[in-house]
Homo-oligomer: 356 residues x 2
């Protein structure tokens, strides 16, 4: 039987599922970041290879097997990346076609069997798209850490770092983020001063400037933590600095989504495109997941307003969508009922008891 | 006669002046960035060597000369930098002592003969200090492009880039900064679309991500240009986006200055420090120069409020201050009258007709 591998290659982690044409899943695997633009080609291929190996479990065979692989990829599929990925998959006994799809389409197809609507991912970056006839039609956001992506994981992490640095430097208010960030970077508070500045400030600067800028994204969860638990030192119920960061983040993310939704207005100059009034908005990525779960009062109403009446669907990742795309490439029709069954099936093999 | 060289090594350019113990100046030289932390050791030493060579003019001699060199330095004076600088100066016939002083002290001593007060530099970065007994006592700001320095040249340049990217991406308002930045980066407006986004946006992103982040500082002057001339396309008198950037920049800079001034409040725990009620605030750096000259309605009242009643003095650079520090190191007393004469003397040799 033909081996179908559906892979979701994200900026933080990657997932692979093994399935057949009936949508029955035979294995699931997780590994690290699979975005070649963010982590480099070799590192991304290592992660994707590992996820596939885990999904294949004992099913890997050195003999040639008829296979079909779809990768829903964050980042650019350059020729060197594709060559290296093909070599790695061949090594795992997979000799068939490899099809690369945008990660936004994997996310979209994880949330709906529809072919029209919107997808938004807010993880390390923040990007949204209008999906039309099953393809990405218009993209908004995703302009990267230096030039855009307000509200992304990098942006939140940087705002946390800037707020703590300002506070230690006497330029900003006290915040519950300070002890959280110092703990996360392993710096002890000594209270010592040098030229009237805290020793911790020098240490923190040294620590944070030694990272690649985008790595500041790893501190984004602290904003939700401080937002929930407040400032123990000052005894307030909620940390204002952290809440402010999350408010601006939610607004920035909502603005990108709104721009993708509003791009429909351009349709009157594209008469060949059908209106898709019933398309839903599929949301993915770690910041949106944390935002809706841990700070719904900040995120939900902004996203609803941006969606302009369309239904919001949050997905865990894009692996179900990658499977949908694979089956459609092979001629299988995926309707609402089949999509529901496939999602349940992926959830079954995804559970740690079965695959890890 | 002993050769005294006073050097101001800044992040954008460097200056050197040749003088004697009477304060008479024999030559002046300019060259590129002399901040070894920002541009690298070799490049910084090249610039400083060139500035000195130009200041010496025909006065350089291969024979050993008794010399004394003071460098008011932006960035860190690491041992490798000092070795390389010493070798370069020896090569230029200067065999005496080299003393490194903080650039903030050079700026301060350019503006006053006093020994107490405050200095602030807003150029590529933004940093302020309290000066006490002729030494830097407390530093605020200067935490760098990623973690602080709101209002610095980098910060303004990045805000310009983000505003233009947002505008081209349909996420932000139209702004006069767009044609200015596209012109500055050599990108033509074609109006062509790809996935519903302008071709210019892709080209601009490619162009800006190819720079080192701090190089975005080079676009800071566009904010003043747009603020002055407004948005020709929309016909408004002043560009709101550019004005907003400058308002936040001025507030950020003023906050750093205010924190340095407020650090005086810590003095009650330092009984050995005399209050310096009559110290002035000396301002330097390209952003403060442009702010006070081209957007005084935005900058002046904020800086006045931050200075808390102290007099504001804007200086062109720190080269007069470096000369003051050199003469004081050699035992010369520098009072108000001598300082005034020295400033005139440096201005005389500084004029292009005399030295370049």
């Amino acid at each position: 039987m033909r081996k179908i591998l559906a892979i979701d290659a994200g900026g933080t982690s990657s997932r692979a599922v093994l399935l057949d044409m009936t949508g029955a899943c035979g294995g699931f695997g997780r590994a690290g970041a699979g975005n070649p633009t963010a982590v480099g080609i070799a590192s991304a291929v290592d992660a994707l290879g590992l996820a596939v190996e885990r999904a294949l479990g004992g099913a890997a065979s050195p003999s040639a097997a008829d296979s079909f692989v779809v990768v829903a990829l964050a980042g650019a599929a350059t020729p060197p990346f594709l060559s290296l990925l093909e070599a790695r998959l061949t090594h795992l006994g997979l000799h068939g076609n490899i099809v690369i799809e945008p990660d936004l389409l994997g996310t979209f197809s994880s949330g709906t069997s529809g072919q029209h609507g919107y997808a938004m991912i807010a993880g390390t970056g923040a990007i949204a798209a209008r999906v039309s006839d099953g393809r990405i039609h218009t993209v908004r956001g995703g302009t990267g850490w230096l030039l855009g992506d307000t509200g992304s994981g990098f942006w939140i992490g940087q705002q946390i770092a800037r707020a703590v640095v300002a506070s230690l430097d006497g330029l900003g208010p006290s915040t519950a983020l300070t002890p959280l960030l110092l703990k996360a970077t392993g710096i002890e508070r000594t209270g010592a001063l040098r030229r009237g500045r805290s020793e911790e400030l020098s240490q923190l600067m040294q620590e944070l400037y030694s990272l690649r800028p985008v790595e500041l994204a790893r501190f984004a969860p602290l904003a939700f933590e401080a937002g929930e638990h407040g400032d123990v030192e000052s005894g307030t119920a909620q940390d204002v600095v952290a809440s402010d960061i999350l408010e601006v983040a939610a607004s920035g993310i909502a603005r990108v989504l709104a721009a993708a939704v509003e791009s429909d207005a351009e349709r009157d100059v594209e008469p060949d495109v059908e209106p898709d009034v019933d398309g839903c908005v599929v949301l993915g990525g770690s910041v949106l997941a944390a935002g809706l779960a841990r700070a719904p009062d900040i995120f939900l109403h902004r996203l609803r307003a941006a969606a302009g009446g369309s239904e919001l669907v949050m997905v865990q990742d894009g692996v179900v969508g990658a499977a949908v795309l694979a089956l459609r490439h092979l001629g299988r029709e995926v309707d609402v009922e089949f999509h529901r069954r496939l999602t349940r099936e992926v959830d079954r093999v995804r559970s740690p008891a079965v695959c890890e």
